[in-house]
Amino acid sequence: MLPIQASTQSAAIDHIIVLVHWLMLIMFVGWISYFLYTIFRFRSSKNTKASYHGVKTHFSSYLEIGLVLIEVFLLVGLSIPFWQNVVTAFPPAEKALTVRVVAQQFAWNVHYPGKDGRFGKTNSSFVNSQTNPIGLDPQDPYGKDDILTVNQLNVPINKPVIVRLSSLDVIHCFGIPLMRLKQDVLPGMKIPTWFEATKLGTFEIMCAQLCGVGHYRMRGFVNVMKPEDFKSWMTEQEELLLEEAEADDSEDDFWS
């Protein structure tokens, strides 16, 4: 019932989910078989006098201790190490692609640092929903070459991607179910998360935290590309920006 696995961490998460569900299944089947047998066997028409003492063995205590041990294993053996080694273990920045995702009602703004590798400063006082959705500082030279997309997160395959999440307005939750990634996006906080795509193709980004009337359609896409395709897309965007900048300049010349 779990969907396909499209990132490096998918297998580890699915492994835990599957193991826990086996445990749940075994416990439930155990309980329900005991339960059905007992209520059948001890129905009043058959067993007219109840036994005051009932069960006398300590079997249930052993079962409970067994359950505790399994829970300790799941926790100490799997879940905590996963948090330590995956969720909070960010790859070194020089080996990863770093992007910012700025959530707003009801879109995911993707912000690439551009050629210089540095993000332009942003401030909400510069936000203009038509021309400057994330509020890039027009004075900041680092921002000049920054690339912005809406709802399209293009990434190369087999390369860690660090996503620095922030929100302009309310709480959102950045979820890519097929990559087993989910991270709350809290306004006023900058929260990083990371993933590494292992399959080419397009994967949906799904908002998982109620964010208003358009929550249900706050859908974005992760486009996982071959490294060379990603590179040429990037170059294309950089050239486009350059052309735009030149066009702006010539316009200025015209009017002056």
């Binding site: 019932m1 007992t38 067993n47 006082s125 939750c173 179910p177 809290l186 306004p187 906080m189």
Partner: protein, 583 residues
């Protein structure tokens, strides 16, 4: 205290009553009404989920253009329904029924007290609840509709929301105040008013679970009350407790400065709302314990262990709250702490469930409707508890967080879990309350379809959740490619929900007709041992429950005791006196 019921006017006897039994019944009827209302709201939502943006036939056009133009539900209205369904079910339905109704009616009777310790406080608690409920409903009349930011009311969404949210917060302040008044009363009553011989360890399990519940309410609600007032200030007075600086909404910068924290609300909210889960489940466990002991005709297995487990559960419930917040950017140490406490709290739950299951062994089990609901509680609560395991492990929660898996999980706990237990309690104590029996035939027509429908609603949610479908989506996930394979389940769930509604009709008929037409019940209709059955059936309204204040001689569930020819020994049955009389 003398019984002065005969001299009372209609208003002081039935409306502004100080009698715990009347107040219990008032709580019961009001909360049952709210349960039906909360259920109706979700039926509207389920139409939209199964048939997104299609006109609701027949009744759709009556909702007006602000909610359902031409019968098609707007997302705003969907979000209002979602928030109000959760709020009504929890704060106006299940808790007042489990704590307000059963607690009020049964606790004084079961400990052999003439009434609650503070009858006026008790009345104030009910009317506070009533006003809170009324204010909540006013939300629907506000411009922009009722609160629409979820029952969790997370800022900033709740702070920029329409005025329905203000009404919601005011309603919550009343409801919380009501719970605080009630919980103090319950604690004092249990500590102070136990009959002679009723030691703490001789108290019925229901009284114990009510005691633990009262402590949870008393200690967990004040932070939420404070938080609710702070949120109200953020909305009305321009403070910024929960609002960070520089938020931009629809292109406009919001005027909040001062750097509030959106996480602060989540901490304060869940500090209440996790203990609240146990407020929902503990009274249910209490009811099920009573019904199972009575209908297996034997003592509960591991009764003392269950009591210790409930107390431990109560303590632990205060240090697990952040497991609702794994994905807020937690580090390893904090997440490890809350995962560990979450795994630890599963142990007492398992102990209680195991004890109840083992109690069945060796019994002489009577399958009346009350018992059927209590028996069904066991595996249903089992599924609810088990599905909590993957959610409690932060790594698995990365995938399952805020998906339909969560919805399936907690509905298994609350709906076929707690609500089944509450039904069981109604069938079990109805003869005591009214002096008449409910129809067993109608009871079975209520039970079996309910059991089947509940599972057809909530099990598919687990499947959708594993597929990754988020909760609170207006179109049930139809926008998303990844939901395509599990989308058909929405129709299954919605049809089952409609059938579940139909399955409640026999219950409603049963409750009302049995009141006038039901067969007369004797004072101790079920041959039970606890003290409420020592009072006359349909005990006279007014203070004073017992003709003779009972004295307690033994543990609560002495069915088929060894060395006795009696099939059951009520707690107040004096063997020595009995012997003397025989001699």
């Amino acid at each position: 205290m003398d019984n002065h019921s005969s001299s009372q006017s209609f208003w002081s006897k039935y409306v502004f009553s100080l009698d715990h039994k009347v107040i219990g019944i008032q709580y019961g009827l009001t909360s049952l009404g709210f349960l039906i209302l909360g259920f109706s709201l979700v039926l509207l939502m389920r139409w939209q989920l199964a048939y997104p943006e299609q006109a609701l036939p027949l009744i759709g056009k009556f909702f007006g253009n602000a909610s359902m133009p031409d019968g098609v539900m707007l997302p705003e209205f969907y979000n209002s329904l979602g928030a109000m369904h959760g709020t009504i079910m929890i704060f106006l339905g299940v808790v007042p029924l489990g704590v307000g109704a059963f607690g009020n009616y049964l606790v004084p009777l079961q400990i052999g007290a003439p009434d609650m310790a503070f009858p006026k406080l008790n009345m104030a608690s009910y009317w506070c609840f009533f006003v809170g409920g009324f204010v909540m409903l006013l939300g629907f009349a506000m411009p922009g509709g009722a609160a629409n930011s979820g029952w969790t009311a997370y800022p900033p969404l709740s702070i920029v929301a329409t005025s329905g949210q203000t009404v919601w917060l005011i309603g919550m302040v009343f409801l919380i105040t009501s719970s605080l008044l009630g919980s103090i009363n319950t604690i004092v009553t249990i500590v102070q008013l136990r009959a002679k011989g009723m030691t703490f360890m001789r108290m019925p399990t229901l009284v114990w679970t009510q005691l633990v519940t009262a402590f949870l309410l008393l200690m967990a609600f004040p932070p939420l009350e404070a938080a609710g007032v702070l949120q109200l200030m953020d909305r009305l007075a321009g403070t910024s407790f929960f609002m960070p600086e520089g938020l931009v909404l629809s292109g406009q910068i919001l005027p909040y400065t001062g750097g509030g924290s959106v996480l602060l609300w989540q901490h304060l909210f869940w500090f209440l709302a996790h203990p609240e889960v146990y407020v929902l489940i503990l009274p249910a466990m209490g009811i099920v314990s009573e019904v199972i002991a009575n209908n297996t005709r034997k003592p509960l297995w591991g009764r003392k262990g269950m009591i210790y487990a409930s107390v431990f559960l109560g303590f632990m419930s205060f240090i697990v709250w952040a497991h609702h917040m794994y994905l807020t950017g937690m580090g390893t140490v904090i997440s490890a702490f809350f995962q560990a406490t979450t795994m630890i709290i599963s142990i007492p739950s398992v102990i209680i469930l195991t004890s109840l299951l083992l109690s069945l062994w060796g019994g002489s089990i009577r399958f009346n409707t009350a018992m059927l609901f209590s028996l069904a509680f066991l595996p249903m609560f089992g599924i609810g508890g088990l599905t909590g395991l993957p959610l409690g492990l932060a790594a698995a929660d990365v995938h399952l967080h805020d998906t339909y898996y969560v919805i399936g999980h907690f509905h298994y706990i609350v709906a076929p879990g707690t609500i089944f237990a509450l039904f069981s309690g109604i069938y079990y104590w109805y003869p005591k309350i009214t002096g008449r029996q409910m129809s067993e035939t109608l009871g079975k027509w209520h039970f079996w379809p309910s059991l089947i429908c509940m599972n057809c609603i909530f099990f598919p949610m687990l499947i959708q959740g594993l597929a990754g479908v988020s909760r609170r989506l207006y179109d049930g996930g139809a926008t998303y490619e990844l939901a395509k394979d599990v989308l058909y389940l929405n129709k299954v769930m919605s049809a089952s929900a409609a059938l579940l509604f139909v399955a409640q009709i026999p219950f409603i008929i049963n409750v009302f007709t049995s009141f006038w037409r039901g067969k007369k019940a004797s004072a101790n209709h079920w041959d039970a041992t606890t003290l409420e059955w020592a009072a006359t059936s349909s005990p006279p309204l007014g203070h004073g429950n017992f003709e003779v204040i009972p004295e307690v001689f033994r543990d609560p569930y002495e069915y088929n005791p060894p060395n006795s020819d009696k099939e059951f020994l009520p707690q107040n049955f004096d063997l020595q006196n009995d012997k003397k009389r025989e001699d």
